[in-house]
């Protein structure tokens, strides 16, 4: 969780505890979008007088809870596959997006001062590139003085949607990563040290010279971590910012997977940031109809009114056409009317 939003989140929890009533919407799951949902809920409460009680227990927990019917909606950073949605009678749709950046701590290299490719990142995380002045890195960065020092590789030790997006990206750019390690919320890392949460990763990267780790962009920005640029599918090095994440979303084919479960990694386009992902909401088709409608109403409100809140918190709002397609699905599958 982003520290800047901690107070807001804590206030939100306190407020929701006091005013919890039968009309409140309950949700649980991913930690990544928690600050966003907290802010949305605050604004929604002010306008519609309906509270949201969201427990950020992790994506896996969110999937478990919605399957067990204990919450009105579940939240996950890892999209469920079509057949899994079908077996459990779930509807899935994205709520917002974010990007992930490789945070670095290399002497004399500032934010965006280092260029890397997906293949090089994969080799670093596989333990094949062990020094910063390795030819593969130096070749991409002529003019940058790189130290003759061992690379301290940092990963997320707790199961996390961020790790899923990162390992999915590495799987797409490296066959060796795909066959040896694969993509998941936690994998069997061949080298490196694990930090718990975004805080653990960034603490390690900040404190240990010659480190590399991965965090959400919003987190890197708020904590002023230096980051490396990564070559996208078209071989360009866009700066990680809202424009670049949105470009990845705009170029993606959202209808390619059931439940909009596409992953925005390595999308084509000059401006597209290569490591981008959406975060997803899960709702039961056979759930309490009134509660489902209440939850959908909240997200409908958020799509219409929540973009500024999202941008302020460094999340990326969904493109308009995707929102329209999601509303259409709601109408078809859950008889939701605007």
């Amino acid at each position: 969780m982003k520290p800047m939003n901690f107070l807001a989140a804590a206030g939100f929890l306190a407020a929701s505890a006091i005013s919890a009533s039968a009309a409140d919407i309950t949700g649980a799951g991913a930690t990544f979008p928690f600050p966003l949902y907290a802010k949305w809920a605050e604004a929604y409460k002010a306008s519609a007088n309906i509270g949201l009680n969201y427990q950020s227990i992790g994506s896996g927990g969110g999937i478990r809870q919605i399957k067990a019917k204990t919450v009105d909606f579940g939240a996950s950073d890892m999209p469920l596959k079509g057949d899994e949605l079908k077996t459990d009678g779930l509807i899935q749709f994205p709520s917002a997006m974010g990007g992930i950046v490789p945070a670095i701590n290399v002497q004399g290299v500032g934010a965006g001062g280092l260029k890397l490719t997906g293949a090089v990142l994969a080799d670093i995380y596989l333990g094949k590139i062990t020094k910063w002045n390795d030819k593969a890195i130096a070749g991409l960065n002529s003019g940058v003085t790189l130290p003759d020092a061992a690379i301290n590789v940092v990963y997320r030790s707790d199961g996390s949607g961020t790790s899923f997006v990162w390992t999915d990206y590495l799987s797409r750019v490296s066959d060796e990563w795909k066959s040896k390690i694969g993509a998941n919320t936690s994998v069997s890392w061949p080298v490196g040290v694990g930090g718990k949460g975004n805080e653990g990763v960034s603490a390690s990267v900040k404190q240990v010279p010659n480190s590399i780790g991965y965090v959400e962009y919003a987190y890197a920005k708020q904590n002023k971590l230096a980051f490396a640029l990564v070559a996208n599918k078209d071989g360009k090095y866009p700066a990680p910012e809202n424009k670049a994440f949105q470009a990845a979303a705009a170029n993606a084919d959202w209808n390619a997977a059931p439940g909009f479960g596409i992953i925005l990694n390595n999308q084509p386009g000059d401006e597209a940031w290569p490591i981008t992902s959406a975060t997803f909401i899960l709702i039961r088709k056979d759930g309490d109809a009134a509660k489902n409608q209440a939850a959908l109403k909240f997200f409908d409100w958020a799509y219409s009114n929540g973009d500024k809140i999202a941008t302020d918190l460094d999340y990326v709002p969904l493109p308009t056409n995707v929102k329209a397609a999601i509303r259409q699905t709601w109408g078809q599958e859950l008889k939701f009317t605007h």
Partner: protein, 326 residues
């Protein structure tokens, strides 16, 4: 296990508490039922925990068999799980904690009771007790932000430079990337965490030894060292082992502090500077997001930790029984 129940068992066995009379009044009878009920709840609770662990971990035990204990693969991709790196990490960190923590605690306790000037006793004792009250997450945060960088810069980096390439020592004490995180760091943090427990219980025990014993030893010309070695330590021996086991229990099961500083790598490494993991840290890291076989494997890990702790406590009992006889 604490000193109090030990003392009581001994007392009962030696028949000192046999003046129990039959319950006569209603309040007596109620009191007996109530206390017996409380005692039974402990047994039921323990059985319940054990049972739910076994049932939850059963799919993993059934699928991997003995291989679950010996395999060092932990791969959520192919759903293959092995507990060995976590078990090894748990035992290694606990061993480091004991090796560093026990002498430190005994030193503190002996100094406080025998050597410290009067004006120093109160503040140092209070400080020791305060250390015991610090929550483990605070130790973790302090460890991550203060202790880990120090270990990285002033221990791992210079030591690695010296031992690089040497046989054996070069393997055990070489850090590939000196980040400060690692098994040794975790063991040291654990040592700091258990020291106040052991020190404070040992101090109480040493204080309770009748001063007549000490004075007569000094009277026949013993030095302070001889009094401590031949009079005080043997007297407090059983209690010190009890205190040590309490510390070991904490070291084996400690979760948050270890998770912060151990580096959380599920790999085996011969170097104590390399990152590793313990059973508790692995569960803490992965439980939130685990489903299916992974969840089952994590519960099975918990079951193993339960078993390891049980074995350790059994050994402690045996040890206490032996020391008690001497």
């Amino acid at each position: 296990m604490s000193a109090a129940p030990l003392a009581m068992t001994e007392a009962t066995e030696s028949g000192q508490l046999s003046r129990r009379t039959k319950p006569s009044t209603t309040s007596d009878r109620l009191f007996e039922y109530a206390s017996r009920g409380s005692a039974l709840i402990v047994l039921v609770l323990l059985a319940g925990i054990m049972l739910s662990m076994v049932i939850g971990g059963w799919p993993a035990f059934r699928q991997f068999g003995v291989g679950f204990l010996t395999s060092s693969v932990w791969d959520t991709q192919s759903d293959q799980y092995g507990a060995w790196p976590a078990i090894a990490g748990t035992l290694t960190t606990a061993a480091i904690a004991m090796i560093v923590g026990i002498p430190l605690s005994l030193g503190i306790a002996i100094f406080l009771t025998q050597l410290a000037p009067a004006w120093m006793k109160r503040p140092v004792s209070t400080a020791v007790e305060l250390l015991a009250a610090v929550p483990s997450i605070i130790y973790g945060m302090w460890g991550l932000f203060v202790f880990v960088p120090l270990v990285g810069a002033y221990v791992q980096t210079p030591v690695s430079k010296i031992v690089e390439g040497l046989p054996l020592v070069g393997t055990i004490l070489y850090a590939r990337a000196p980040s400060g995180l690692g098994v040794l760091t975790a063991g040291l943090i654990l040592a700091f965490m258990i020291t106040p427990f052991i020190a404070s219980i040992t101090r109480d025990m040493l204080d309770q030894i009748p001063s007549v014993l000490r004075e007569s030893a000094y009277g026949v010309g013993c030095t302070t060292w001889e009094v401590v070695r031949h009079v005080l330590l043997p007297q407090a021996g059983v209690s010190i082992i009890g205190a040590t086991m309490l510390g070991l229990g904490r070291a084996l099961g400690e979760t948050m502090a270890v998770t912060f500083v151990i580096g959380n790598a599920n790999r085996l490494s011969a170097s104590v500077f390399d990152p590793g993991s313990t059973i508790a840290s692995r569960v803490a890291n992965e439980f939130n997001e685990a489903l299916g076989m992974q969840l089952s494997a994590l519960i099975a890990l918990g079951c193993i930790l339960f078993f390891v702790t049980f074995v350790v406590l059994c050994c402690a009992r045996l040890l206490v029984a032996r020391v008690g006889k001497i």
